[in-house]
C-alpha cells in the first residue's frame, strides 16, 4: 500500500508498515549476525595445530637419495638417446622431460651430498637404451611409471623431511609425464593409474661407481 492512512494514534499506516519492515530487516540482520557468528565460531571453534615433523636426513637417507640421482641421470641419458630420433612435438616433449629429470637429479644430488654417485644407473640404462634409441614412446612411458613407483618406494623409507618433500614433488611431476606419454603412445591412460609395481629396486639396480 502506498497511500498514507492516518490511524487513531496519529501514526500513518505507512509509518507502521515501515516500522514493521524495519523489524523485519532487524530480524534479518540478527539472523545474518547469527549466521556470521556461527560461521566465525565454527572457524574459531578450535585452533588448529598442524604437526611439524622436521627431521634431518641421516646417512641412510642420503644413500637413498643418492640412488635416486643415479636413476635420474639414467633418464637424462635415455632421453638424450631419443631426442635426435624424433621431431616436432615429440622432440619438444622429450627435451622437456629430459630437462625435468636433470633438475630432479640435481635436487637429489644436493640432498645426497657426499653420497651422490654422480653416475647414471648402468643397469637401467642397459635395459632401456634400445627402446629409447628407437624412439619408442611406450618404452618412455614404462620408464616414467617405474620412476614414479621407485620414488614412492624411496618415500616410504626416507625419514628426513627435506627428502620426502623433494621426492613428493618429483612423484607428481613424473606421474604427469607418465600420463602424457601413455596418451601419446595410444594407451588408455588411466588403466595403470594405481601402478606401484616395477620399482627400480636398489638390490637389482645397484649403482656401480
Amino acid at each position: 500500500m502506498t497511500e498514507s492512512v492516518l490511524t487513531d494514534n496519529g501514526d500513518s499506516e505507512a509509518t507502521l508498515i515501515s516500522r514493521r519492515r524495519a523489524f523485519q530487516l532487524a530480524g534479518a540482520a540478527a539472523l545474518s549476525a547469527t549466521a556470521l557468528a556461527t560461521a566465525l565460531s565454527s572457524s574459531a571453534r578450535a585452533e588448529i595445530t598442524l604437526p611439524t615433523n622436521d627431521t634431518a636426513l641421516d646417512d641412510a637417507d642420503r644413500a637413498l637419495v643418492g640412488y635416486a640421482v643415479s636413476l635420474e641421470l639414467a633418464c637424462v641419458a635415455l632421453y638424450d638417446a631419443m631426442i635426435p630420433k624424433v621431431s616436432g612435438d615429440v622432440k619438444a616433449l622429450g627435451e622437456t622431460l629430459r630437462n625435468h629429470h636433470d633438475v630432479h637429479g640435481k635436487a637429489c644430488a644436493a640432498l645426497a651430498g657426499s653420497a651422490n654417485p654422480n653416475v647414471a644407473n648402468a643397469t637401467m640404462l642397459a635395459e632401456y637404451i634400445e627402446g629409447f634409441t628407437n624412439a619408442d614412446v611406450a618404452t618412455a612411458w614404462d620408464v616414467e611409471e617405474r620412476m614414479v613407483a621407485s620414488h614412492l618406494f624411496l618415500l616410504g623409507v626416507v625419514k628426513g623431511t627435506k627428502g620426502s618433500e623433494t621426492l613428493a614433488a618429483i612423484i607428481n611431476a613424473d606421474a604427469a609425464h607418465a600420463a602424457v606419454l601413455a596418451s601419446l603412445s595410444g594407451n588408455p591412460a588411466l588403466v595403470e593409474v594405481e601402478r606401484t609395481a616395477g620399482v627400480f629396486a636398489p638390490a637389482d639396480y645397484a649403482v656401480v661407481i
Binding site: T7, T49, N99, L155, A169, I170, A179, P188, L190, E194
Partner: protein, 252 residues
C-alpha cells in the same frame, strides 16, 4: 488494518520493550552483584560493566588419525564432485570419469583403512568446508562438457597438490608414501584431463575431442604439447591448511 489491532500491536510492543528493559536491568544488577567478587572470599572493587574474559578457543590437535580422516573426507568429496562432471560430458568420456571416481573411492577406502589401523574411526562424509567453499561454487559453473572438464581439472590438480602438501604432516614415511600414492594418481588424472581440454586434444588419440570444439581443426597450429610447466609439482595450488574441516576423532 483495523486501528484497534494496530493499537494492540503497539501496546504489545511497548510491553515487550518494557520486558526487555527490565530484563536488561536485571542482568545489569546480576552482573554488578557477581562483579564484586571473582572468586569466593576474594574481595575486589565493585564496578559496573566488568570486562568479560574471553576464553581461548580449544586447540584441535591434527595428528595422523585426523589427517587420515581428512584425506578420506576429501576423497569422498572429489568422488561426489565428479558425478556432476560425468553428467555433463559426452558418452565417450563417461568411462574415464567413472574410472576417476573409482580411484577417489579407492583412496577413501585406503585412508579409512589407515584410520582404523591407527586406532581411529574412519570419516564417512565428504569434507563439509571444502564442499561449501570450493566444490559447490565450482560445480555451479558447469553447463557443458568443456566447463565440466575444466572443473574436473581443477579438482584433480587441486586435490593432488593438497595431498602433496600434507606429505610431511604425516609422521611416518609409510603414511607419506600412502598419501603420495593417491596424489600421484590425481596428478595423472589432471594431466590426462588437460590433454582432452581443447588446446591439447590431439594428444589423446584414444579419446574423441570435445564435441563443441570440433568445428576448428585441432591439429593445425598445435598448441604446446601439454602443460608440464615445471620439473617439480608445486603445492602452490593446494588448498591451504586452514581451508579444511579436519574431521576430529569422534568422542569415545
Amino acid at each position: 488494518m483495523d486501528p484497534k489491532k494496530l493499537e494492540e500491536v503497539e501496546t504489545s510492543w511497548l510491553q515487550r520493550r518494557g520486558l526487555i528493559g527490565g530484563g536488561l536491568l536485571g542482568l545489569g544488577a546480576l552482573a554488578m552483584t557477581f562483579g564484586t567478587r571473582r572468586y569466593s572470599g576474594t574481595p575486589v572493587v565493585s564496578r559496573g560493566g566488568d570486562a568479560q574474559e574471553v576464553g581461548k578457543a580449544p586447540v584441535q590437535k591434527v595428528d595422523d588419525i585426523v589427517l587420515a580422516r581428512t584425506v578420506t573426507s576429501l576423497a569422498l568429496l572429489a568422488a561426489a564432485a565428479h558425478e556432476k562432471v560425468k553428467a555433463n560430458v559426452g558418452d565417450d568420456l563417461k568411462p574415464v570419469v567413472d574410472q576417476i571416481i573409482s580411484h577417489h573411492k579407492t583412496h577413501a577406502a585406503l585412508f579409512a583403512g589407515i584410520t582404523t589401523r591407527l586406532g581411529g574411526e574412519p570419516a564417512t562424509a565428504p569434507n563439509a568446508v571444502v564442499l561449501a567453499n570450493v566444490v559447490t561454487p565450482a560445480a555451479a559453473t558447469i553447463n557443458n562438457s568443456e566447463s565440466a572438464l575444466k572443473v574436473a581439472h581443477v579438482v584433480e590438480s587441486t586435490w593432488s597438490a593438497t595431498y602433496q602438501s600434507m606429505t610431511n604432516m604425516f609422521s611416518t614415511p609409510e603414511l607419506r608414501q600412502s598419501v603420495m600414492t593417491a596424489s600421484g594418481s590425481l596428478a595423472r588424472h589432471a594431466a590426462l584431463i588437460a590433454s582432452v581440454l581443447p588446446t591439447n586434444s590431439y594428444l589423446v588419440p584414444s579419446l574423441a575431442p570435445i564435441a563443441e570444439e570440433t568445428t576448428e581443426p585441432t591439429t593445425a597450429d598445435k598448441a604446446p604439447v601439454i602443460v608440464l610447466a615445471a620439473p617439480f609439482a608445486s603445492v602452490a595450488g593446494a588448498l591451504g591448511p586452514n581451508s579444511f574441516d579436519y574431521p576430529p576423532a569422534p568422542a569415545a
